[in-house]
Symmetry: C4
Subunit: 270 residues, 4 copies
């Protein structure tokens, strides 16, 4: 590779990864974030008939433009992957890059456009269109809040798994009891235990839509017990998330205070 | 300006800002707080037809009286602004005073009365009347709890913004999924993604009015997942607020303990 | 007073206040607690027609028996009040005893029986009958959990007042906005701001019965904003209560560990 | 007993109690956990008619197989009980083993199969079939999350009892008041205080199905008060559970860090 190409690759890497703070990098990031935001907006509002009627003709060109940008970005990331120490020094570096969560999200963001050229089953295409929503997750690369949420989920994955497993056990038990109590009185609503689990979810999360509820005395007694005890159990993941998030935000703030605002390096070490 | 005028201005400033503890200042504050409270009460009860029929004739004179008092207060604050070190020593001090949040609230409290003389569009006037409700926020100047809430919101603004951004992402994702799952079965209810977001809000906050809920199996599965995970995410701002508020109340109590009850100065410093 | 009478008064005081641990005192306490519990049970089940039909003839004798016991207890407390250092040494000791919360509860527990002999207005009598429910609060004298709740409420009264004041402001503001947004579309449901406050309570507490909810787009937007922000504000008293209660329970446990199990005195002091 | 038998018993004990880490013990545990999971799955899906029609013929052989395995396990545990120091050295060791919670769960897991041979009352048999659900609790022996929940419930039993007692008092009081406020307007819904308690549970837990709610002004005022204060009280057990669970998980993690990964002994002591 020539020296010029190397320099270009280095520059592209800097811009894509945001390792520098110069104007072009900043502008690129703002451009991409805006593009993602507008894309998500389009996915949302194009389901509104009145919007589709009036502005529908704009959506196809915008989609083409977005896919070109996202494809260039995707291909760019592959081309410069060797500068990323995480993938360069390891075997199958490129393969590992391609299956990394962020690259899969990037792929899911452009795939919905290209797949219809290959597949022609309309039902499949509809699901593929839904994939465009994953463009939302492209934000994770650029948005600090999303990264914070990611870190929190990761660091508390074990605790949350334990909590959700317990919720699941409580849900199964509550729903089975309720099925046996209400099935005869409301055979349509509590038609089976899986159907009763919808009642369980709606009750244990305290949503209470009102589409399913017990009408017999034993059913009401079970619901009362489940509500009081179950809600306490459902508070567990809530508590884990809330405290982990607050902790992570404090951690981030402390880290920021130890960072030089000019060069971005840690000033607590010498 | 003569010496007497100066002294009057000084006195007016003291009373309006509550910098002294004398009887007239106290009385003025109680009078204004009572007037605000009664005003809010009137705005509320005048929508009740039976009240309007019986006491309606009292509302116009009371409104005139209130506006006179609030206008005098507003003009007074402008006249004495030079005694406020925050605005006196800076350029455009008066302009900066006029656009300060509290002065805008004060203006919004009297504007609904004067605007109908200028504008005549009835629809506009109705919205203007709603502005009277902002008199409620005049309380913030005099009410400690409201100030506490303000401080909490300000100090945690960054954390709350992060939390609300995440909520918004979860909301968009959940609502879009639900739209695709339920649109065919309930085209009226889940007519578009923005319409589905109403379901999202009602579900993620666990309100669950029961006007919108999924009826298909995929819809119920999505709702179950959204409920369990989403509610944990919705707990984040709740946790931030609750802990910040408790902290601020403790902080206030400690500050009060360090304050001389006679002169109001900090006794911890010498 | 003779020596024997004095000794009797001393004994009655010991039993009523539970200052000793002997068998008769214990038995009396268990008897009174059981009597209160059965009384509350009767108040509840006598509203069930089937129970009233079958066991109704038992309720009047039981009521007479209960009132006799509670009256003897009430009179007894008055007769021995001089032994209570809290009331003996102060002026108007008896008057102060009579208006103490617990003695008022004791009075409310027996009054429903005697008043019908004096008053004859049937509507008044019905409300008086409701007073029997206050027998429930007689438990506070004997039940540790109720005392704990009382201590928590008392110690956090200031914080809770602040929190509830803020809730009230949020409620007024949210309900007024919603009234203006929905009044035209649902004049029956959002007939006035006070009526809209029912929506506000049901929404901010996340109960969401489903009897009132917005149907217009502005109304839904307001509800969404209110739900997200308002629920965070409603979490404040919840947080205050939960943490104060946990703290108080820990405090109690520590106190108990420092108490001699034999004589009940503090073993941490010498 | 011969030496060989002794060794077999020792081996069976090791496998059943999981005191060693060898392959057979691991395999046995995975096999039992899978069998329990599939059993619970069958109990759930066999209530779904479409599943029953298609796969129903598989359920009886699977039930027979499961009961054989669980019976062998149950009998095995009885045969080797002498190796368990907890039961061997005490009088009535076998009796105490048989009434231990886990052995009762194990018995409940096989009883539904054998009882129909003895009892023939069909109504009784239906309830017996429900007992199969207790196989779910067999998981507690093998699942760490369930054990954690058990420890949390045990360690906070006192605090939770206090909290639930208070909830109960609030529930009784709120429901009685509501009954008196709404009985005349909605005699069908608020037919008695016990019936009103269904409203109380649905409201205090913020589920709010929408099947019962006040319609009169006094009823709505009571509901508002109950909602705001009562929900704060209902937050108490929620808070206790969430914090106890988080604490227990941290405790477990710390314990694990102090354990040798090879022999499983505590490395913090020497």
């Amino acid at each position: 590779m020539s020296h010029v190409t190397n320099k270009t690759i280095q520059r592209v890497y800097e811009i894509l990864e945001g390792t520098t703070n110069d104007k072009i990098t900043k502008s690129f990031q703002i451009f991409i974030i805006t593009l993602i935001a507008v894309n998500v907006l389009v996915v949302i509002v194009e389901t509104e008939e009145s919007v589709l009627d009036e502005y529908g003709y704009l959506f196809t060109p915008f989609e083409v433009f977005s896919v070109i940008v996202f494809t260039v970005e995707y291909v760019g990331r592959i081309l410069v992957y060797k500068l990323n120490p995480k993938y360069n020094n390891s075997k199958f570096g490129l393969a590992r890059l391609l299956v990394s969560p962020m690259m899969l999200v990037d792929l899911a963001a452009i795939l919905p456009f290209f797949l219809p050229f290959v597949v022609t089953d309309t039902r499949f295409i509809r699901i593929i269109r839904l994939l465009r929503l994953f463009r939302l997750f492209k934000l994770s690369r650029y948005s600090e809040p999303m990264q914070t949420l990611g870190i929190v989920f990761k660091s508390k994955a074990g605790d949350l798994a334990v909590a959700f497993f317990i919720l699941f056990i409580v849900l199964i038990f509550a729903s089975s009891l309720m099925y046996h109590a209400e099935h005869e009185a409301q055979p349509e609503v509590f038609s089976s235990i899986p159907a009763s689990m919808w009642w369980g979810i709606v009750t244990l999360t305290t949503i209470g839509y009102g589409d399913v509820y017990p009408v017999t005395v034993p059913g009401k007694l079970i619901a009362a017990g489940v509500a009081v005890i179950g809600i306490a159990v459902y508070a567990i993941p809530t508590g884990i998330m809330a405290s982990a998030f607050t902790e992570e935000l404090r951690h981030k703030r402390e880290q920021k205070n130890n960072t030089c605002p000019h060069c971005g390096k840690d000033i607590s070490e010498k």
